[in-house]
């Protein structure tokens, strides 16, 4: 029982019990829980918008809402999912919880700033929700000019809300960067840092560099509308395409804000469940940095038909191929990690495998749309919708669910039921595939996105997609229910139920308020399965195994 001295200290959950101790906490773990509650709420809200969109598309003509409401629904779906769920999801929840522990620190570098980030997020979310009740915007989450300057909908409060959310993202990014630089435990060199922490570092850099550009562009949209400045108004010498450049300068890197953390999760889950070191730790670290850098240079591939020069388009095309190669490197490394491992099939690993398939498929279709002549046909069609949902949902959401199951015992100290986990993971996969695979074909057939009514020839695939969406929603609801049940009644998990070498498992589960009661011992690497952890064999024997 090597963990005995640690077990004496109360966990972060039980250290204080008042409501104020949660709402005013500066403990990164409690802040992570606050974020988790919020992003889960918005995941289901965004999902509800998605379901309404899918139901509307059951038939080619008007079904349950009118055209204006439809446009508002897909705008709110995008805004909610991108800024209220996906961008904060893995970094603000799991990054917050795990980054300091993985570095052997007591907390992030600026704990109070961390709490401020959460409340700025909450304020932004409230403003966006207020915009929803004021009728919401109908411009799509992209707010393209000049339509967003003239749209008869609530563009102002929506844009204001997103502007506020951006500050939260920037502050979290700064916090993580400083934490990574200054809070690593003694002896924890850069090239021994867990891969999830590396991706948090990469994502923080993107957040800090890209989000101000979003803030700037949205401020101009705001001023244009509020004071009739006409900065993008062509009748006054403005250029609406300039807005697109500014918007995508943020929003393409934002794709990596959403997918890099997912890659970090997969880079932890696969080594743990195969009890193997990553096939190449360096390859994953360098490709993370590579994505964070080259990801800034590819935004123009969103604009191949906007009238940009052929030379520019060609340059953006080739740079997009470069950024794709980093994802390919990671994928090969993950699969290579399994080679000669000791693999245990469980829910997090199943989600990681789903991620592999969907991410490779989604990523390769990204290469396909970066092939410029093909993009001319596909851009602004359902092909693109399917492509980015394969990355965002097939990638980020499955990784979020992998993370949720993998670290569930870490955060709660309890175990979920594999009997529910495995079928739910399968249902989520089938539902997802059923929803979005038909959308590739719809795009091939030429159905533009953001279409309230569509030509009748597209109905069959739309119906299949809607049925898939119901399966996906059911999978999510089942997951929500059994995890909630496990939170209350799940069996005690022990400190390290997966036998992982990950640094976050070297303390109790759930961890005490200051994460470690003694100096953390990181002498055995985070992916070193060549030796047993101290006490591991004894615990194994006590548990009744040979």
């Amino acid at each position: 029982m090597t963990t005995a001295p640690i077990a004496m200290e109360p966990s972060f959950v039980r250290s204080e019990r008042t409501v104020a101790s949660w709402l005013l906490t500066t403990d990164h773990k409690r802040i992570a829980v606050l974020y988790f509650v919020s992003v889960t709420f918005f995941l289901f809200l965004g999902g509800l918008f998605a379901m309404l969109i899918r139901i509307e598309h059951f038939a080619p003509g008007p079904t349950i809402v009118d055209a204006m409401t439809y446009n508002r629904l897909f705008t709110m779906h995008g805004v909610t999912m991108v800024w209220l769920f996906m961008i904060p999801s893995i970094p603000a929840v799991f990054g917050n919880f795990l980054l300091p522990i993985m570095l052997g620190a007591k907390d992030v570098a600026f704990p109070r700033l961390n709490l401020l980030s959460f409340y700025i997020y909450l304020l932004g979310a409230i403003v966006v929700m207020a915009a929803l009740f004021m009728g919401s915007a109908d411009t799509g989450w992209t707010f393209y000019q000049p339509y967003s300057a003239h749209s008869p909908s609530a563009v102002l409060p929506t844009v204001l809300g997103i502007f506020i959310l951006g500050w939260s993202t920037i502050l979290t990014g700064i916090n993580f960067i400083v934490t990574m630089h200054t809070m690593r435990a003694a002896g924890l060199g850069w090239m021994r840092v867990p891969l999830f922490a590396w991706t948090m570092y990469g994502v923080s850099i993107i957040q800090v560099l890209a989000t101000p550009v979003l803030g700037l562009s949205l401020s101009v949209v705001f001023l244009d509308r509020a004071f009739d400045w006409g900065l993008f108004d062509p009748s006054r010498g403005g250029d609406p395409v300039l807005y697109q450049h500014l918007f995508w300068f943020y929003s393409h890197p934002a794709v990596y804000i959403m997918i890099l953390p997912a890659m970090g999760v997969i880079s932890e889950v696969i080594p743990t469940f195969s009890r193997k070191n990553p096939a190449s730790y360096k390859a994953i670290v360098y490709s993370t940095i590579g994505i964070a850098f080259v990801g800034f240079l590819t935004w123009g591939h969103h604009m191949f038909v906007s009238g940009m020069s052929i030379f520019d388009a060609g340059a953006f095309g080739i740079l997009s191929m470069m950024v794709a190669i980093f994802s390919a490197i990671k994928t090969y490394t993950w699969v290579g990690t399994l080679y000669r491992g000791a693999i245990l099939v469980s829910t997090p690993l199943v989600y990681a495998f789903e991620f592999l398939f969907l991410f490779v498929f989604g990523g390769m279709t990204g290469v396909a749309v970066a092939t410029m002549s093909l993009d001319v046909h596909w851009t602004d069609t359902y092909f693109v919708v399917a492509h980015f949902h394969f990355i965002m949902v097939g990638g980020t959401l499955t990784a979020f669910l992998a993370a949720l199951h993998y670290w569930f015992p870490k955060v709660t100290g309890r175990m979920y039921s594999e009997k529910w986990g495995l079928p739910a993971a399968t249902l989520v996969f089938l539902g997802f595939f059923g929803t979005f695979f038909p959308q590739f074909l719809l795009g091939n057939a030429g159905m533009p996105r953001r279409y309230y009514q569509y030509p009748a020839q597209y109905q069959v695939l739309n119906v299949v997609s809607t049925v898939g969406a119901f399966a996906l929603a059911l999978g999510m609801i089942i997951t929500f229910i059994y995890l909630t049940e496990a939170l209350v009644r799940g069996p005690r998990a022990g400190n390290n139920p997966w036998g992982s070498r990950g640094f976050e498992w070297r303390t109790t589960s759930p961890p005490p308020t200051h994460n470690f009661t003694a100096e953390p011992d990181f002498k055995i690497g985070a992916y070193d399965y060549t030796v047993a952890l101290p006490g591991e064999l004894e615990e194994h024997r006590e548990a009744g195994h040979a």
């Binding site: 195969s274 070191n277 191929m321 000791a342 279709t365 290469v367 002549s373 091939n444």
Partner: protein, 367 residues
């Protein structure tokens, strides 16, 4: 109808529309190659993961494994093999993209005006149609497009052609269809509440049918060729106070033989005087100043010229591409300062002093 093309079974599996333009077959072939690789790639990676999972099942929860790191040669093989494949695709795609973006010189021209929520097509003979674009089979067709309000996107799935139509600038796209038939036009950029019903169709007519359509007297339009409308607009807006159409030098550059010629700008650059240049010179006269001429135009004609007028003036300038020139006609006398200040129609149009341009220009490129 399509002579060459992907096997129909492949098109059906991919749910692709008919291949009704010369681009479609090439694009679809690349499409098929990449998508097939995507499916094979993602499935094999998944299957390899599943194989390893079965092959290396965990035997004990305290099982130890060897430390294996992929060697650099194998890594480089994977990296550059994959990157090489991506770059080959890019090279083919770029080549096709250049083809899509650069219209041939000998194309029939149609002016397109997009607005919430309709497409208006104006032909050089002055007729115009709403939501239906009529073009001949077997000829290159070039569209010069502008938007009156927000961004729209001209999308013909059967042609694999799409081009954003941005207000305040004029963009071109082109296609060549050998397959008579009717193909949907869809707006592909969110443009407001009726975005999804901003639809039209391209009607591709075979030789005789097209001639018959040309011969039809379309009710309500078509009596004056577009170039003639352009000439009237140029007179009305006093363009001709400074720009001659017979080759004589006056306050501004002459419009005669201007279209498609190489123009030297202040600062030593040169541009080809295509539709985009001509419209930009009306929208932003200060953007490209022709060498040796003072910029005395108003800051912009955006408020002054309607979009159909702009298209008509461009067509008028086009019609002067090979016009006869003289050097001794009387020039209109004009106070430069007034033009610069007002930018609005001046007193009596100077038209009567000017030679009448040769008739029958507009249909030239159709013959």
């Amino acid at each position: 109808m399509t002579v060459s093309g992907l096997p129909s079974i492949v098109r059906d599996v991919l749910d692709l529309p008919p291949e009704a333009s010369t681009f479609a077959y090439k694009i679809d072939t690349l499409h098929f190659a990449i998508i097939a690789t995507t499916m094979v790639g993602s499935t094999s990676i998944f299957l390899v993961a599943v194989y390893f999972t079965l092959r290396y099942r965990r035997r004990s929860n305290v099982q130890l494994t060897e430390h294996i790191v992929t060697g650099l040669p194998l890594e480089l093989l994977f990296i550059f093999g994959t990157l090489g494949l991506f770059l080959v695709w890019w090279a083919i795609g770029y080549h096709q993209y250049v083809d899509l973006e650069v219209p041939p010189k000998d194309a029939l021209l149609v002016y397109v005006q997009a607005k919430q929520w309709m497409w208006k097509f104006t032909y050089p003979d002055g007729r115009s149609t709403n939501d239906v674009l009529v073009v001949p089979a077997g000829k290159n067709v070039r569209l010069v497009m502008g938007s009156r309000d927000v961004i729209h996107s001209f999308f013909v799935p059967a042609f694999r052609v799409k081009q954003d139509v941005v207000p305040g600038r004029y963009v071109t796209t082109w296609f060549h269809s050998d397959s008579p038939g009717t193909y949907p036009i869809l707006c592909a950029e969110l443009c407001g509440v009726d975005h999804s019903v901003m639809r039209g169709s391209v009607v591709v007519l075979g030789g005789e049918d097209y001639d018959a359509w040309l011969g039809q007297n379309v009710v309500g339009t078509g009596s004056t060729p577009l170039a003639g409308i352009g000439r009237e607009a140029a007179v009305k807006h006093a363009c001709v106070a400074c720009h001659t159409w017979n080759g004589q030098r006056h306050i501004g550059p002459t419009w005669s033989h201007l279209y498609d010629s190489k123009v030297s700008l202040e600062g030593g650059k040169t541009v080809i005087a295509d539709e985009e240049y001509l419209t930009r010179s009306m929208m932003e006269p200060g953007a490209d100043i022709v060498a040796t001429f003072p910029n005395v135009m108003p800051a912009s004609y955006r408020y002054t010229l309607s979009q159909p007028d702009v298209a008509a003036i461009v067509e008028f300038i086009r019609s002067l591409e090979n016009a006869p020139e003289t050097q001794d006609a009387p020039l209109p006398a004009v106070e430069v300062r007034e033009v610069a200040d007002a930018g609005l129609p001046l007193g009596p149009p100077p038209g009567p002093h000017l030679p009448v341009p040769p008739a029958g220009r507009p249909d030239q490129e159709q013959q």
